[in-house]
């Protein structure tokens, strides 16, 4: 292994641990103090004895640092929190604590004009979190040797974890359920954040906590557990997702969640096309639009020129089929070509779709879509006598309109996940990946490249169309402007592609996570008002520079246990830019 285990700041090991633990304890305690004198700063940080708003984040970070520090001491009963035995996780946790605490301090100073608005509690928190960080920097962490890179030179802890203690499988299942419950809580917290400061702090903390947990070995452990109990883990994930509306008191955030699900599902469909088959589709949102328009036309909306009202299952099939037909129409002529031609043709198709929907208004074309006004007043769905537009009392919780649609959309998402997982891991999925890797070699293996690419393209279109049928009903109205190439808000083709690539190509969770972030970040950064999109663009560039392989690396990329052993970049650097792909 080309890594060394040395502290960043030379300190005796005992002192470093003690300083970290004391700092973490003090950070935790400081969350209970008053940080500022006025409740003008959102979240009310004036109360001594009870944390509020951003203080909860500091508290979380402090506790995590404390637990990992105690585990580093080898305190019995806590060692399970750090199976890797590496202190890198602890360092990340301490970083997270300092980052979120100082973010809060700076936010207070900016919002209230000056550091004078800080109570002593705030100063204590700031100092305590820095003390913990200094202590953690004194711990021996896995680092790259000098001269290989800059900064802290933190290494990936890529040694395999020691074998886990054998647990009864009921306990393992219980652990999975607990983990997903915590996950649901964390995501709910993120969606429910009421002000931008809290959401930004949440994102900062979430990033560091995830880094800390994966370096400490807890996340890899959990991943191993979920792989072992895959059906239960999948079930738990969906149960957690289905539990979301029951945690909500109003429809304010369930509508956000329903739209996240639509966006995420479409992103997952795009991942079949881009991630598996390697086809660059820049007009994917048009297939969502085809599905939505098809569903709107047969929904019985008074604005639709076709005065029919299909039952929902028939509308879904219509939308999916219409999208698929367009997929085949676009794909058949262009998928024979190699290179990036598909990219531009799909981009063109996306534009044509939007312009055509705008033009079919009766003056510049036949009257079908009402042009820019779209098809409004799409009636709510009624499935088996259950009207999704009305409130229902389920398990003592009143579920509103968006909760109903959220749950319906979750079923669609589950279906798309199922299709992705099953097809991805089959003869067809392997053929797609082979085409993505090297189309010539794939053809030499007997794969009919054109047919399989068309299949991927049509399937992707079909799944997007399916999501579109639900979207039409969720948003009441379909208009051409919902389906553009690049716009301030998702879903649009650029954001969809970004969700896939940012999240991780070829994975299931990648696009789901990517889509969630891409939806939430612009929405929650509304406090930046004019600079919201600017911040988004910068985030996109930074994220891509930090993790070009996406946030969730492909299972295959994970197989590279020995990445550090391979002599630095065996292939010429320009190679991957020129790799022949079927895109």
């Amino acid at each position: 292994m080309s890594t060394e285990t040395t502290p960043v700041i030379p300190l005796p090991l005992g002192a470093a641990r003690a300083v970290t633990a004391v700092g973490a304890l003090a950070t935790t305690a400081s969350a209970f103090l008053a940080w500022t004198w006025t409740a003008d700063f959102p979240g009310d940080l004036t109360v001594t004895g009870y944390p509020g708003g951003l203080q909860w984040l500091t508290l979380t970070a402090g506790l995590l640092t404390l637990v990992l520090a105690l585990a580093s001491y080898g305190v019995p009963g806590l060692r399970w929190t750090s199976p890797s035995g590496s202190d890198n996780g602890l360092l990340y946790a301490a970083f997270g604590g300092a980052a979120v605490t100082w973010f809060t301090i700076i936010a207070i100073a900016i919002d209230l004009n000056g550091l004078a608005n800080l109570e002593p509690g705030g100063w204590i928190a700031g100092v305590a979190s820095l003390v913990a960080l200094v202590g953690a920097l004194g711990l021996p962490v896995d680092r790259h040797p000098k001269g290989t890179s800059w900064g802290l030179r933190l290494a990936k802890t890529d040694q395999p974890l020691p074998t886990a203690r054998q647990l009864p499988s009921t306990v393992e299942v219980l652990l999975i359920v607990v983990a997903f419950a915590i996950g649901l809580f964390a995501i709910t917290f993120g969606i429910d954040t009421e002000y931008g400061e809290l959401f930004t702090g949440y994102l900062i903390l979430a990033g560091f906590v995830i880094a800390a947990l994966s370096k400490s070995g807890l996340l890899p452990r959990l991943r191993a557990l979920t792989i072992k109990h895959r059906p239960i883990a999948t079930g738990a994930a969906f149960a957690a997702a289905a539990g979301f509306p029951f945690t909500q008191t109003s429809d304010q955030y369930t509508s956000v969640a329903a739209n996240i699900l639509i966006f995420a599902t479409v992103a997952l469909g795009l991942n079949i096309v881009v991630g598996l088959a390697g086809l660059l589709d820049l007009g994917y949102v048009a297939f969502l639009g085809v599905g939505a328009y098809a569903a709107a036309l047969v929904s019985g909306s008074p604005a639709s020129p076709i005065h029919v009202q299909f039952p929902f299952w028939a509308a879904m099939l219509t939308g999916a089929a219409a999208s698929m037909v367009f997929g085949v129409l676009i794909g058949a002529p262009t998928l024979r070509l190699r290179g990036d031609y598909l990219a531009i043709v799909t981009l063109g198709f996306g534009e044509i779709f939007r312009i055509t929907m705008n033009n079919l208004n009766g003056t510049t074309g036949p009257k079908i879509t009402n042009g820019a006004n779209g098809i409004p007043r799409i009636p709510d769905l009624e499935i088996l006598g259950f009207n999704l537009g009305q409130k229902h009392l389920i398990a003592g919780v009143e579920l509103g309109r968006f909760s109903n649609y959220y749950l319906l959309m979750l079923v669609v998402t589950a279906f798309v996940v199922l299709v992705f997982a099953r097809v991805g891991n089959s003869r067809i999925g392997r053929a797609w990946v082979a085409i993505r890797e090297d189309e010539t070699a794939a053809e030499a293996m007997g794969i009919n490249g054109f047919r399989l690419k068309l299949l991927a393209f049509a399937l992707g279109a079909c799944l997007a169309g399916l999501a579109g049928t639900v979207q039409a009903h969720v948003s009441y109205t379909v208009t051409p402007d919902q389906y553009t190439f690049a716009e301030a808000l998702p879903p649009n083709s650029a954001f969809l592609l970004a969700a896939v690539i940012l999240g991780g190509m070829g994975t299931i969770s990648g696009p789901l996570v990517g889509a969630t972030l891409l939806f939430l970040v612009p929405k929650k950064l509304e406090f930046l008002s004019n600079y919201q999109l600017l911040a988004f663009g910068i985030t996109l560039i930074i994220l891509m520079r930090v993790r070009p392989e996406g946030m969730i690396a492909n299972r295959r990329a994970k197989l590279e246990f020995h990445e550090a052993d391979i002599p630095a970049q065996a292939s010429p650097p320009s190679e991957s830019a020129l790799t022949k792909t079927g895109a």
Partner: protein, 280 residues
């Protein structure tokens, strides 16, 4: 699960398998391959040598449907091969590439499974519905792929990424992947390029082992020793034309070969004759 050809006894030469008639390939004004005919019989190992740029790989690409020959036909088992790579493989002709073209981000096992593509049928709906037939077919493919990895000595690396394999093993994996399509004829494009003598020797053993499975082999090589040890017959391609074809004595003693290609009489090659007999 066995090979598609009726396995001929290992060393006897059977009926014509591949029949190439008058293949010519022109790129614009350049004639890369000029009127080349060649047959490969069942159970045979045939070599194709020639200096750089002689058109060997172009000729290969004509056989495998990557190029459509300007003139001439290629038939396999009496049927004319359509000029589409996947249909050629479907018909029973598999190939490897000169510059290794593995699916780098797939595992070793997955690479071989991709090779099974033509011999399995499971489509999209079968994959989504996952009926018993799907599981049976997947298990059978896996079984066959693992057998082939065992055969090529890669079984221990089944779960590694293809691009992390050392060079020699990548070559082997390409062969295993090609064998997965149950071919009757295997086309090897410079299988020992860049190998050290030990690896070359192992590759030689592997080629013989494949022949013993009843699969005929057509191999392009630069390595004289390798080709004369291995092949029952060798054809020499110079400037797109086949100038001679025959056993190693015929080729080695041919004036045109010596002048056009070898430049000087072959001493190294003759000295290895004894080894060649030992090997067979």
């Amino acid at each position: 699960m066995t090979t598609t050809t009726a396995a001929a006894p290992a060393t006897t030469v059977g009926a014509p398998l591949l029949d190439v008639r008058g293949v010519t390939m022109r790129f614009g004004g350049l004639t890369a391959v000029n009127d080349v005919s060649l047959t490969v019989n069942q159970g045979e190992i045939v070599g194709l040598i020639g200096p750089n740029g002689a058109g060997k790989t172009t000729f290969f690409n004509c056989l495998t449907g990557l190029y459509v020959p300007t003139e001439g036909t290629v038939s396999y088992q009496g049927k004319v091969l359509p000029p589409k790579p996947h249909l050629v493989t479907q018909a029973g002709v598999a190939r490897t590439f000169q510059n290794i073209r593995l699916f780098g981000n797939m595992t070793v096992l997955e690479n071989v499974l991709v090779g099974r593509h033509t011999r399995t049928k499971e489509g999209l709906f079968s994959a989504i519905l996952r009926g018993p037939g799907f599981h049976r077919a997947e298990a059978a493919s896996r079984q066959r792929a693992l057998e082939l990895l065992e055969f090529t000595g890669l079984a221990a690396k089944a779960e590694h990424l293809a691009r992390n394999l050392p060079y020699g093993e990548q070559r082997k994996l390409e062969i295993a992947r090609a064998l997965a399509s149950d071919p009757g004829l295997l086309l090897l494009d410079e299988p020992t390029a860049g190998m050290n003598p030990q690896e070359t020797n192992a590759a030689e053993q592997l080629v013989f082992a494949i022949r013993d499975l009843g699969i005929a082999i057509l191999v392009i090589e630069h390595d004289m020793k390798f080709i004369f040890n291995l092949c029952d017959r060798t054809a020499v391609l110079v400037q797109g034309q086949k100038i001679v074809e025959g056993d190693k004595e015929t080729v080695q003693n041919d004036e045109r070969v010596i002048t056009a290609y070898l430049g000087a009489p072959l001493e190294t090659a003759t000295s290895t004759d004894e080894q060649a007999e030992d090997a067979t």
